[in-house]
């Protein structure tokens, strides 16, 4: 039973289906929710799905994390370090964007007393 999962192709298939399901849960949240905070949280769920997707798709069975130690002296048989480094950048940018968006949301709520995105029509007048 567990040998079935010890296969790169199977793991990639599970990761693609799972992360894309998570991505479209976030998409559904953005499309249906009216609360500003819930929309921002949905954005964060979509981001998490992309992180899982990129990191997971570059895992291969039999390769180890790209770190040398006492037992492993050379950089061979390791997974690709580039997607991990890029996702590290993306996580920090996502955190910055979420903090800035939440502060905009708090400010909007303080000024107008509302957080419903379907009633945001201040620019019309």
């Amino acid at each position: 039973m567990l040998d079935f999962f010890n296969n790169t192709q199977t793991i990639h298939m599970i990761i693609i289906i799972g992360s894309m399901a998570l991505f479209f849960i976030g998409f559904y949240g953005i499309a249906t929710q009216k609360n500003l905070v819930k929309v921002l949280v949905s954005f964060d769920i979509m981001e998490s799905a992309l992180f899982l997707f990129f990191i997971g798709l570059h895992y291969q069975v039999g390769l180890v994390a790209p770190i040398v130690d006492k037992n492993l002296k050379t950089f061979t048989g390791m997974v690709d370090p580039v997607p991990q480094a890029m996702i590290l950048t993306t996580i920090v940018i996502g955190l910055a964007v979420l903090a800035l968006g939440l502060s905009f949301g708090i400010e909007y709520y303080k000024l107008t007393g509302r957080n419903d995105i379907s009633k945001m029509n201040e620019l019309r007048d």
Binding site: H12, M13, I16, I17, M20, A21, F23, F24, I25, F27, Y28, A31, T32, L57, H58, Q60, A65, P66, I67, V68, D69, K70, T74, F75, T76, M78, V79, D80, P81, V82, P83, Q84, A85, M86, L88, T89, I91, V92, I93, L95, A96, V97, A99, L100, L102, S103, F104, I106, E107, K110, L111
Partner: protein, 242 residues
């Protein structure tokens, strides 16, 4: 119970649309073969013995793709400035003090603070040897201050010290980038003597630990400022109205 009120038609249509998009995207992604992205990573892994950092991800982040990290730190700085500007514009402040309820909570949080900060510093300075680094360690340090805010609502951070640490570390990071240009003819050149001793020791890797320590100080102070602004938003609202 009215089904239409619980689950409106719009939500059903949108969930069906999301599912259709999901199926098509998964169908496209199933065709992708990961063999086609192997080249860059293999080149970086081969070059990694030159940087003398045991963690290949760290050397990609701070050396091979180091200029990206400079931009990333700039984005984080701009976001922190935006949060501070937005929330301080309308944040009502007052000098009222809440009575501290529990002695155990107060003393325990101060005891834990030093341990969490020590762990954050450990994660930062071992960034080139083990998983972790400046960004992760900086966020760990910010969680120590979050614990302090949750335990003692009257706590205030000294913005002078935080701004000083943030500005000095950011300026030193840019200086390191420019010194690399003058000494090694490339931006962010590894100008410190780097294969000292064996790979995997604490003092190895040239400028990589230096860069990560600077990034750690910068991220720690920025995250603490963001945490303070978001926590104080609730605190002032409750205290000043009472």
């Amino acid at each position: 119970m009215n089904l239409k009120k619980v689950l409106p038609l719009k939500h059903i249509v949108l969930s069906l649309l999301s599912s259709a998009l999901l199926l098509s995207v998964v169908g496209i992604l199933m065709q992708v073969k990961t063999d086609m992205f192997k080249n860059v990573g293999a080149i970086y892994l081969n070059l990694n013995m030159q940087t003398a950092a045991a963690n290949a991800v760290t050397s990609v982040v701070t050396f091979f793709r180091g200029i990206d990290t400079v931009g990333e730190v700039t984005v984080l700085f701009l976001a922190t400035s935006g949060v501070a500007l937005m929330l301080s514009a309308t944040q009502r402040t007052c000098d009222k003090v809440v009575k501290q309820e529990s002695f155990v909570l107060n003393a325990g949080s101060k005891l834990l603070l030093s341990v969490i900060i020590l762990f954050g510093v450990y994660v930062i300075i071992h960034g080139h040897l083990s998983p972790g680094g400046g960004f992760q360690g900086g966020v760990v340090i910010a969680t120590a201050f979050l614990l302090l805010f949750l335990a003692n609502p009257n706590m205030k951070l000294s913005h002078g010290i935080l701004t000083l640490g943030e500005s000095l570390s950011g300026a030193t990071y840019v200086l390191v980038v420019i010194i690399g240009l003058f000494k090694m003819n490339i931006l962010l050149g590894n100008f410190l003597p780097h294969p000292i001793g064996e790979i995997g020791e604490l003092i190895s890797g040239g400028i990589i630990p230096v860069v990560y320590i600077l990034v750690g100080i910068k991220v720690g102070s920025e995250m603490s400022v963001i945490v303070e602004y978001f926590v104080k938003e609730d605190y002032y609202k409750e205290v000043c109205d009472a």
